[in-house]
Amino acid sequence: MTTVADYGTYETAWCPGCGNHAILGAMKEALASSGLAPHQVLFISGIGQAAKAPHYLNANLFNGLHGRALPAATGAKLANPALKVIVESGDGCTYGEGGNHFLAAVRRNIGLTVIVHDNQVYGLTKGQASPTSDEGFVTKAQPEGVHAEPFNPVETAVALKANFVARGFSGMPEHLTGLIRQALAAPGFALIDVLQPCVSFNKVNTFAWYRQRVRELPAGHDPTDWAGALAVAVRWGEEIPIGVIYRGSRPAFEERVPALAAGPLIGREVDRERLAAIVDHLK
């Protein structure tokens, strides 16, 4: 049996009080309680404060480029669908530099568990606006405040029909652990956008700010109703819904690839007879 201890405990490079700590804890809890052993799990991360998270637990890890975790994870999942592939990175990484990959990965409904530490700011580079920064958010790089409409990842993921779309809050780690467990169990693309206060560079969207606004979805919310889910997903501001917002049933991308019907690509022999026939056909 896997326990949280199997995932280890490491010193982090994060600021004391940062929302990342609780997400790391919730992740380890969720992994252990899902019965996944470290070697069955592959984390793929980008670059940023959030993206350091998988360095602080025991698992396979490919820590790639800023913004490019999703394509790397897509490739890894397609090479070996037997792996539980988890993408963990920040809002800037996933929705900013990586915005195009986010759209494409959701549309593919590829079997990834995607945990975004959404602090509405670029933390590691010391506080510039991110795509999820609220309009008017002031930073040294945006001294007049952000002019753009914020990107709502949950809305986009529902609109493009990811199989599992949820929002969590670092200030509610048990709730978050539950979400991660469910996401790990869901086939296809699973997104959890996690509200994660950055105590150093986001003095607006603080723990208190989120705590005032987050609302657990009512028991009656039917995540399988797409239109209803979309109506919930567009909400942001004075009330921010958290929980499992949408659950779809599109087949996962990897299940639709004929070459994977025979299992992972790893260690297969080249079928030389078939290849010879292909060559022969060119005569």
């Binding site: 470290p38 670059i47 360095h55 890890l61 820590n63 480029l65 994870a73 195009n100 990959h101 292909i278």
Partner: protein, 567 residues
């Protein structure tokens, strides 16, 4: 000049010229001829001017040439554009409604021979008859292609062919063939891109990602055609950045991976190249060159991206650059690329170009039954705790695959410790830099020897790389026939270089001229950088057309390096 003839089929895009060209080429191959196809097309789907030239003969031909002996003009523009390229005695095949501009040949009443829809097949029939191809041979090829379309079409095609045969024979026209076709074992007809795809499949390719881009798309399409049968996952990604990162992810997880692109797409992959190197992940990148900068001439050929390919990606790391000269090379080099990538755990680049990509040849069938394929990852015992980047003299640490054992595999794009976690320890940094660069030493042991064609110590040594190899060899041979001791030195690997393999030959020659498909002499200056060797002249082409023996000879003559030669 080697004994050969060239047929050129010209017309608008959408007129079915590729179909005619492909069928005629196939039939020539089946009849025992060697061929060299040169395709010229524009960045449009209909209209404009396209051409499909087939050089054929029974000797060792492998270079594109200019002179045309049989011009099949599907429109008036083709007559006008190509009349200047006709060799003495050349014939024109054109519809009787076109103005032959005084050229000898056949004015064909296509409307009488076939319906407009089947005029192409009739043209094929006329050309085939002149070329001495059996009616059955042509009919067989046509049926293979259109067979599925239903028997009506098949019957009509059959009729068009027969009419064309009858009519052509009735004109009593004869076309002089370049000797006798070969009788040997049947050859396959493949172009550079198809060969590359087949080589990759035989080498163990399991994952291919791409974003469409001329001239490399057809590599992907060839793999896709056989993907299910061969157990390969292919994915058209959202952009080239996704392409390269997907392939790296797949390779990390254990699927030998390749990406195919051209200059602009390759530029977008530069960061990914650096990632492959830093994480020590095998990756094969095919860069099909076309003239730049930017969108440039998207359907033409060039060799302008050597230096970029050599330096693409920030930071310093080892890589190999291979540059096939023929479809046969494409097959072998694609295979080699997979082995090098796996052996040295990093990026290997294959530089091809539009000419080679699209150039069909008659090739001895690749004997794939005995060929080994790469195995991703390390299968032996590892020391515990496992460290992905364990110190190793040659820079190569045992690479386990995630999930295949209980050991954890940790790769990092940051500078990292042996166990793969990010570090800011500057001592570790120094060791890791040395480890990664040590691979260059290993790569040097595997360098493909450049091929010297002609005598050592020649008066004139023509140096070249990649797709121009055959043209340069043929130019040198021609010069020898004319009394100059000339030789050709052809590189199919352009990085790393092993000067011991070639510096002697360069120094032994009286004069060394570099022949390249670019305007700045990129290979020439790479050689100077690596060896200090000064070239004695150069021949450069950058107008988008392939380098031909004629182009080289004219340029050498114009530069006063050889006697003037008209060809």
């Amino acid at each position: 000049m080697r004994d050969s003839r060239q047929i050129l089929i010209g017309g608008e895009a959408g007129q079915g010229l590729v179909t005619v060209g492909q069928l005629l080429s196939k039939c020539l191959v089946r009849a025992g001829w060697r061929i060299v196809v040169t395709q010229g097309y524009q960045s449009r789907v209909r209209g404009g001017h396209n051409s499909w030239a087939i050089r054929f003969g029974s000797g060792e031909i492998a270079a594109p040439v200019e002179p045309v002996d049989l011009l099949v003009a599907l429109d008036q523009e083709s007559v006008e554009r190509h009349r200047g390229e006709l060799a003495p005695g050349a014939l024109l095949i054109a519809d009787e409604s076109l103005d032959p501009l005084g050229l000898p040949g056949l004015r064909v009443p296509f409307a009488k021979l076939a319906s407009a829809k089947h005029a192409n097949v009739a043209a094929l029939g006329v050309a085939g008859t002149l070329l001495g191809l059996a009616e059955e041979l042509l009919a067989g090829a046509v049926e293979e292609l259109f067979g599925k379309k239903g028997t009506d079409t098949t019957a009509e095609n059959r009729r068009a062919l027969a009419e064309a045969y009858r009519w052509t024979l009735s004109t009593n026209t004869s076309f002089q063939l370049p000797g006798q076709p070969l009788a040997a074992a049947p050859r396959i007809m493949v172009n550079g891109n198809e060969s590359l795809a087949l080589g990759a499949l035989s080498g163990g390719l399991r994952f291919l990602s791409f974003y469409p881009m001329t001239p490399s798309t057809s590599i992907a399409l060839t793999v896709i055609e056989h993907a299910t049968a061969m157990g390969v996952v292919t994915e058209q990604a959202e952009d080239e950045i996704a392409v390269v990162n997907m392939a790296i992810g797949a390779s990390f997880a254990g699927a030998p991976a390749m990406v195919v692109t051209s200059g602009g797409g390759f530029a977008l992959m530069a960061e990914g190249l650096s990632l492959a190197a830093m994480t020590e992940t095998p990756l094969v990148v095919v860069l099909g060159q076309r003239p730049g900068p930017a969108t440039g001439l998207p359907t033409r050929t060039g060799q302008e991206d050597l230096e970029f390919a050599l330096h693409a990606g920030h930071g310093e790391f080892a890589r190999a650059l291979l540059a096939p000269g023929s479809p046969e090379d494409c097959f072998a080099i694609a295979r080699k690329a997979f082995f090098l990538a796996e052996l040295f755990q990093g990026p290997v680049l294959v530089l091809t170009d539009q000419f080679l990509a699209d150039s069909y040849r008659a090739v001895e069938p690749f004997e794939v039954r005995e060929l080994p394929a790469v195995r991703a990852g390390f299968a032996g015992e590892v020391t515990v705790p496992y460290r992905r980047y364990a110190a190793a003299e040659d820079g190569v640490s045992p690479r386990l695959l995630p999930g295949q054992t209980r050991h954890l595999v940790i790769a990092d794009s940051d500078e990292h410790t042996e166990d793969g976690h990010l570090t800011e320890d500057l001592e570790v940094r120094n060791r890791m830099v040395a480890k990664r660069l040590a691979k260059l030493e290993g790569l040097r042991w595997e360098v493909i020897q450049p091929r010297l064609d002609g005598p050592a110590g020649a008066e004139l040594l023509l140096v070249c790389w990649g797709s121009s190899g055959a043209a340069v060899a043929e130019a040198a041979a021609e010069l020898r026939e004319r009394g100059t001791t000339a030789a050709a030195l052809h590189f199919t690997q352009v990085w790393p270089l092993d000067p011991g393999q070639f510096l002697g030959a360069l120094r032994a020659a009286k004069r060394v001229v570099f022949v390249e498909g670019n305007a700045t002499g990129q290979f020439e200056r790479l050689i100077r950088r690596e060896t200090g060797f000064e070239a004695g002249g150069n021949v450069r082409r950058f107008d988008g057309l392939p380098i031909t023996p004629g182009y080289i000879l004219r340029a050498l003559a114009a530069a006063g390096i050889t006697q003037g030669v008209s060809r």
